[in-house]
Structure formats: structure tokens, C-alpha cells
Amino acid sequence: MAKKRKIAIYWLGSCGGCDEAIIDLNESLLELASEVDIALWPIAIDAKYASIERLGDRELALSIIHGNVRNSEHEEMAHLLRRKSQVVLAFGTCACFGGTSGLANFLKPNEIQNWVYGEAPTVVNRAKTRPQAETTVGGNHLTLPVLLDQVHSLNQVIAVDYYLPGCPPPVDLIAQAVRAVIEGKLPPRGSFLAPHKALCDSCPRNSAKPPKIELTHIRRIHEVDEDSATCFLARGVICLGPATRDGCGATCLSINTPCSGCFGPVEGVDDSGAKFLSALASLIRAQSDSEVSGILDTIPDPAGCFYRFTQPSSILGRHRK
């Protein structure tokens, strides 16, 4: 019997939702397990990092890595898996673009720690304790991973072969991607294993979009009546669909929630936040600068809204200190 190829599934700075999405493959997972050996998958099997270190270079046919790179352990594991893998798949939005926790890049690391361990109203920390990377307990010297100065997408740390965005990626795209890797039917390296067009292209509300949208108000979702057919932007609700890659199956839209951009930029675009900003500005109708200003005042946290999932991979990158 031919020796089965080995794969690894690993989490870096991740919430675990990507692992849940892989588990949602259901019976297909059994099929996958019959074709490959899973050498590492912390959420599902008991494998040690040392067993990965013992593998030869490029012995893993595929590493599926989700989560962003936030601390020194993530960085170390990303490099280890890169060295041991023929193909690295950046899986999910955090690995592809940095993800929601990448919004931390709008703050300095000490600002985050001061809030979480001091200033937040629910925190009582009179001793002003802060997490330490090293300590000695009972004569034993213990260490913990060190926080990096910013959140990174995976390709800022190691070379990535393929990308599968989504928060989390949908099951149909995961199955297609894994099948493509196993069968060796892959597009050119660097490709996104997802559609190239914008979400509006497949949005069920697109047909109800007026020929021209002119906004005199920006509204939040709770300020409009429920309507499952009309384009959100036409009603003044910010929907990042025009600047976001298709492939999610419009799941948010189907439950009357506008797109918040988890699939990242469409093919050929570096910075979906900047593209959406330009698109939204062009929809605003006002007679004067002050009128424009009044409309823009109603967008809470524009940077957080436009870069909710993509701050670390944005053109400007982290907050300039």
C-alpha cells in the first residue's frame, strides 16, 4: 500500500472558527483522513510540536494554517510549518489579511495592555499587574510567548502558496481547495481559491438595486425596516459588498445583515478599505462641503468599518507610532 501523504492543520492567532468550518466538512473529513495522514491538528488530535520538528524538510504535502501572527510562538510555528511543507494554504481571513483582531494595529501594544489590564471599567488591578514573558516558580524558570508589536497576516511572515479567505471559509470552498491540493489540480501559486469578482455579482439583492444610488443619509441596520430584497447601499446602510470578494454564499445578506468585508479585496486590489472608501464617497449626494461633512459624521468609526478584516494587509499598515 502506498504511503499516505502527510498534512498539518494549525492555528496561530485564531478564534477556532476556522477549525469548526473544517469539521463542518462532515463525512468528507473521513474521506480526507483515508487519503492523508493528519500529522498535526491541535483541536482534533494529540500530536506534539516535536513530532513536526522530527519530520524532514518538505515532508508535509500541505499545511493549512489559520489565524494571524500575533506573538513569538505563532511566528516560530509559521516558520517551522513552512520549512516542513510543500504547500502552505493561508486559511481564513486572519491568515490571509490579518482578520478582525488586526484592528489592534490601530493602537499601540501598550495602549491595549493598559486598557485590558487597567483602564477597562470591569478591571480591578490595584497592583498594576501586567503579563510577563518570564517568571520563576519554585526555582523553575518559565517563559511565555512574547507579543509582537503588531498583528501580521501570514504572508508578512512566511511565503504563502495559496489563499482561502472567509470568516470562516465556507464548506464548499474548503472541500474544493482540499480536493485540488490532493489531486494536484492547483492554479498558479499565489492564487486565491475563491471567485474573483465582487460579492455584488452574486448578491440576491443586486436586481433590486436602482440604476443610480445617491445617499443623503447613512443609516445603521437597526434604523431601517427589515427588507430582504433591497440593496443595503440603496437604503443608506453601509455594505462592503462592492469592494469584497465573492464566495461566501452571501450568508450575511440572507439574514438581513450587510457585508462587513470578511472575504477581503477582489482580485487585483491591494486595499479593499481604500476601494470601498472611494466607492462610498461617490454615492454621497450633497450640495456643499459642510453637508458632506454632516453625512460623514454619521459613520461611526470609518477606519474600523472599512478595514474591519484587513487592517494588517492595508497599504498604510499599522498605526504610525
Binding site: S72, L147, Q156, A274, L277, P302, G304, I315
Partner: protein, 141 residues
């Protein structure tokens, strides 16, 4: 002591600014001058890439309000700039580093002065230094 001279990228509309002057002469006068077919052609991405490439400020010169050769490109870009100015502080960038001026100067003689005026306003802010910011991991310790 060296005086900091801000690098200002100036996008200017061909239909409103300096179209009667030889472009080569204008290039000699203004260091980072990029004539464009319409100020409406400027996308937020162009402005961000200018910062990322080392610009300390970005100046956009468009036609007089209501007098765009292509209907309303200047109006569209002015709105983009207004929205971008609300996003830049989150990245630690002073919104005054982007400026838009809608006027008409076929000879283009005033461009140099507008660039110099903006440079004077930006000088106290110091260099933006985006080019030097690396995306490589650095431990906080």
C-alpha cells in the same frame, strides 16, 4: 542643521492646471508632479500609495467646482478626500497631509506656490516616514 523639506506629491488635472505650459518646464519646477486626465481619476489607493512610497503630503488640484470637463470628477474626489481625512487619524496620520484645491490656472504658475505653502504647513509635523515602517515581526520586549 538641516531643514526638513516635506515631499509633496501633487496630482493636477490637465484640464484646469498648467495645460498652456511645457510639461517638462513644470516638472523642473515641481519635484513630484503627476498630471492626470481628471482629478476624479484619483482614487484613495493612489493617495495611500504615495504616502507608503515616502510622500509627506498629497496635494490634488482639480477644476473649479461645477466646471469639470467630465461632469463632476472634482466633486467626487473632494468627497473622497473628506472621507479619507476621517480615516487617516486611525493610522496615526494627520488629515492635513491631504489637501484638495479646486481652481483654474492654465499657465500653472501658482502650482509651485501652492506646493510651497502646503510644505510650510507640513514642516512642523516632521516627516511621515511611512517608507521606513516595516511589516516584519518585532517583539515588544
Amino acid at each position: 542643521m538641516t531643514t526638513f523639506e516635506p515631499k509633496i506629491v501633487c496630482f493636477s488635472c490637465n484640464f484646469g492646471w498648467g495645460y498652456l505650459t511645457d510639461p517638462e518646464v513644470r516638472e523642473m519646477q515641481i519635484k513630484h508632479w503627476i498630471p492626470v486626465v481628471c482629478s476624479g481619476k484619483i482614487d484613495a489607493t493612489h493617495i495611500l500609495k504615495a504616502f507608503r512610497s515616502g510622500a509627506d503630503g498629497v496635494l490634488i488640484l482639480g477644476c473649479v467646482d461645477g466646471d469639470c470637463h467630465f461632469q463632476d470628477g472634482n466633486y467626487q474626489t473632494r468627497k473622497k478626500v473628506q472621507l479619507l481625512q476621517r480615516v487617516l487619524p486611525s493610522f496615526g496620520i494627520d488629515p492635513r497631509r491631504v489637501r484638495i484645491e479646486l481652481s483654474l490656472d492654465p499657465e500653472g504658475n501658482s502650482i509651485r506656490k501652492i506646493v510651497e505653502d502646503m510644505g510650510r504647513d507640513l514642516r512642523p509635523m516632521g516627516p511621515l516616514g511611512m517608507k521606513e515602517i516595516s511589516a516584519k515581526p518585532v517583539a515588544t520586549r
